[in-house]
């Protein structure tokens, strides 16, 4: 056995060029699928976390019924729970913000329109979402602000108002009290979502509580977590109950079913692309391994006439290809790792026209390569399987040669 290991190892380096060609085929396959996966997952991560953290947030705590009915009857006391303790009790919670979401009529001097009114704690809100920082004009809300609001750009256009103007808001409050007040527009939001921008109005939380007669109450707690892909798991581990009131923990997957559909579609197009890539590189691996063994038929013939048994030949080839594959796969992984480490801190360059167009719509964001573990595991598994499968046939044929044919023809 030891002898065969030695022979196999020497065989690899006896014809260095041939071995290197098959090995580079495998290394390259790992590298290119790894980089592709890194690019794919990187862009999905960017787009999805962007969509999630724009406004919805990664998780929300709501009273049962709020998600379905969206009315203030499902509000809860803002100090139902010592929220600061969330960060200590659950290591995956990174920040929280109180929020009120409701609806009302917004009027300017000339016209009025329906709006989704959101009461926020400006400082905290900026830690969990970023719609408040996507400004088209004016300034964003700060913690000390009073009776100042942000309007979606589309809504402001419909109302014909600009920062500095005053708007009147009319609502139906917590116990159906009528609420009315005046606010100064501080800034305009362009979130990239036109529907949202045509309906959005943001004000400080205490103003919203006054407006909706929702004293000391809120409708949601928005949470930022460590990993937005694991929120379903997080949600199942969280339990908030106090004073007989129980809150539901809703991950974004529940709050934004449409996004899940988009992700599913994205994954499929990514998988199709990967399939074609694997087809090309997999075939190349098969080709080179096949050729590398078929080239050596004469050699096997000589070995056989020297008394080496077919079984021993296959053992030798098995060891040889096994070592070659493992060597190539590990070098390939190392190269992929180094390459991704090298480029992951630089955003994927977009053409400047595209950048400008995206900025104009308010959703410009940089895309990055990612070094998630899957980026390395998937190529490792896929390419190893292809490599192992592609040596089976040639080894099988090589072991079934008749020495005379092998010597004479030198090929099959």
């Amino acid at each position: 056995m030891k002898k065969f290991v030695k022979i196999a190892w020497r065989n690899i380096w006896r014809n260095r060029r041939r071995s290197l060609i098959t090995m580079t085929a495998i290394m390259f396959a790992i590298l290119i699928t790894g980089v592709t996966r890194s690019l794919q997952y990187g862009t999905y991560d960017t787009l999805e976390s962007y969509a999630v953290r724009l406004m919805t947030g990664e998780m929300q705590l709501q009273k049962k019924g709020f998600f379905e009915h969206q009315t203030l009857a499902y509000s809860f006391p803002e100090n139902l729970y010592p929220w600061d303790r969330l960060m200590d009790e659950y290591d995956f919670v990174e920040a929280y913000a109180r929020r009120i979401t409701s609806y009302g009529l917004v009027g300017s001097a000339t016209t009025s329109a329906g709006a989704m009114i959101i009461g926020v704690e400006p400082g905290r809100e900026k830690q969990v979402t970023y719609f408040m920082t996507q400004l088209a004009a004016g300034e964003t809300l700060d913690d000390g602000d009073d009776r100042r609001v942000l309007l979606g750009k589309g809504l402001a256009d419909n109302l014909n108002v600009t920062p500095g103007d005053t708007v009147v808001v009319l609502t139906q409050g917590f116990r159906n009290q009528l609420g009315a007040d005046m606010y100064v527009v501080k800034g305009l939001i362009r979130s990239g979502n036109q529907e949202l921008d045509r309906a959005l109005m943001v004000m400080p939380l205490h103003n919203a509580q006054d407006l909706f007669s929702l004293y000391g109450r809120i409708t949601q707690i928005v949470l930022a977590t460590r990993d937005f892909r694991r929120t379903e798991d997080y949600a199942s581990r969280m339990h908030i109950a106090m004073d007989g009131e129980e809150l539901r923990v809703l991950p974004w997957q529940t709050l934004m079913p449409e996004l899940l559909q988009l992700i599913a579609l994205d994954n499929i197009s990514g998988a199709i692309f990967l399939l074609f890539l694997l087809l090309i590189v997999g075939f190349e691996i098969m080709n080179t391994t096949l050729m590398a063994i078929m080239e050596r038929i004469k050699e096997f013939g000589i070995l056989q006439s020297l008394g080496v048994k077919p079984r021993q030949i296959s053992l030798m080839l098995l060891l040889e290809t096994g070592m070659k594959i493992s060597l190539a796969v590990s070098t390939g992984l190392l190269l992929t790792f180094l390459f991704i480490q090298l480029i992951k801190d630089y955003p994927i360059p977009l053409s400047s026209e595209l950048k400008k167009a995206m900025e104009a719509w308010g959703f410009y964001t940089d895309f990055y390569f990612t070094d998630r573990v899957r980026v390395f595991i998937e190529p490792l598994v896929a390419i190893s399987v292809i490599a192992v499968l592609s040596v089976i046939y040639p080894i099988w044929t090589a072991s079934r040669l008749r020495p005379v044919d092998a010597l004479r023809k030198g090929q099959l």
Binding site: E258, I268, L277, I280, N287, A292
Partner: protein, 407 residues
């Protein structure tokens, strides 16, 4: 020259196994390339399709100013005269549309909706909601005051087929108008947003509800395959009688979609770069391997007095033949494989749990574009050419004795 050509051609068939390995490399490269491009085209086509084929078509004729401030005061006043003109434009189907915002309510719940008055026969030719009916039908029965709503809205309002809903909207005279409608059909599209927000009723019912005479909000136009969007817009502009209207294409109607298509296209370009790199590497590697296998043969030729220059030339010709055979076979196979899916569609919902769970059926029709094909072939042929330059140079530079002894 002629001899070199002949020798090159014979060399290919002298060792058919080796040649076929190289040819299949090219074939697989071509199939991989065509597959990737045609599927991405198919995907992009689907994206555009779901944006225009559910609502509004490729082109809409809308009242001037309606795109910036939609409201029911803005309307097209002589639709029949326009319809006559539209009938003269080749390659289009068109359908009238009255659309306004309103509220739908049942005895249990209510929600904001977009109410659309349509002419079912004509609408069928323009949008595909009629093909997405999961219960009841698309205005086929004679039921008066019929409404077709989405599955999501039906669940929200908790109404079933045959039950009544109330539609409310502000009318032309600023009063709130309302009417009772019977749900005759329920549809399910890929978008839950759409299924929640869109209500369809007959055109005359919609006109009656908000107080229109024979006016409409818009004409939706579907462009038949093979007709150019811009040319048709030009033709419409010439044909239609002058008036206060605007011709709007789907690109103008969905600027964000157009932008995301551009971003998508950019990433496709990155991915194609990866595919091309893979193809190039594969070809270089395989050809390198094969040429090294034959160094001894070149040694023999050189020993017989063949000039290195001619060996190089012979190799170039061989490569060209191999690539041409490979590309031809590749293209034929691609057309067979992807052409089949192009006609029948590839249903992806089976491949993904997530899609199945969400109840989306995603059928992709890969599109093979001649321009993609030519670019790909150009790239593959020239890459192979470059790929063989180095090994051919190497091969012709061997010393005769070294070459003969080369293992």
């Amino acid at each position: 020259m002629k001899t070199t050509l002949k020798i090159a051609w014979r060399n290919i068939w002298r060792n058919p196994r080796r040649s076929w390995v190289l040819i299949t490399t090219v074939v697989v490269a071509v199939i991989g390339y065509v597959g990737t491009t045609s599927f991405t085209r198919g995907f992009m086509y689907e994206m555009v399709n779901s944006a225009i084929r559910y609502y509004g078509g490729h082109i809409q004729i809308i009242p001037e100013g309606y795109d910036t401030k939609p409201n029911i005061q803005l309307r097209l006043s002589h639709p029949d005269r326009m319809a006559e003109a539209l009938a003269r434009v080749p390659g289009i189907h068109f359908a009238p549309l009255v659309t306004f915002k309103g509220m739908a309510s049942s005895s249990e719940a209510s929600g904001g909706v977009v109410i659309n008055g349509i002419d079912p026969q004509k609408e069928r030719q323009v949008t595909i909601v009629s093909e997405k009916i999961i219960a009841g039908d698309y205005f086929e029965s004679e039921t008066a005051n019929a409404a077709v709503i989405g599955e999501e809205l039906a669940e929200r309002l908790n109404v079933r087929l045959g039950e009544k809903i109330i539609l409310m909207a502000s009318a032309l005279d600023q009063n709130i108008a309302s009417g009772a409608f019977r749900v005759v059909g329920i549809f399910r599209t890929v978008s839950t947003d759409f299924d929640r927000a869109f209500v369809f009723i007959r055109l005359d019912d919609a006109q009656k509800l908000i107080g229109y005479q024979d006016e409409i909000t818009a004409f939706s136009i579907h462009l038949q395959q093979g007709y150019d969007l811009q040319q048709t817009v030009e033709r419409l502009r010439e044909t239609l009688p002058p008036g206060d209207f605007k011709i709007q294409t789907w690109r103008e109607r969905n600027p964000v979609l157009v932008l995301s298509l551009e971003v998508y296209e950019y990433f496709i370009f990155l991915f194609l770069l990866i595919i091309v790199t893979a193809v190039a590497f594969t070809i270089v590697n395989s050809f390198l391997m094969v040429i090294y296998e034959r160094i001894r043969e070149f040694g023999v030729m050189m020993a017989m007095g063949v000039l290195p220059k001619r060996i190089r030339r012979m190799l170039y010709w061989e490569t060209l033949f191999l690539t041409l055979i490979g590309s031809t076979v590749g293209i034929v196979l691609s057309y067979l494989i992807f052409g089949y899916w192009r006609r029948h569609g590839l249903d992806l919902s089976a491949t993904s749990d997530a899609l199945g769970k969400l109840g989306i059926s995603t059928v992709i029709y890969p599109e093979i574009l001649m321009s993609d094909l030519l670019i790909g072939l150009g790239v593959i042929v020239s890459l192979t050419w470059i790929a063989v330059l180095y090994p051919a140079y190497k091969a012709s530079r061997f010393h005769v004795v070294d070459a003969l002894n080369f293992v």
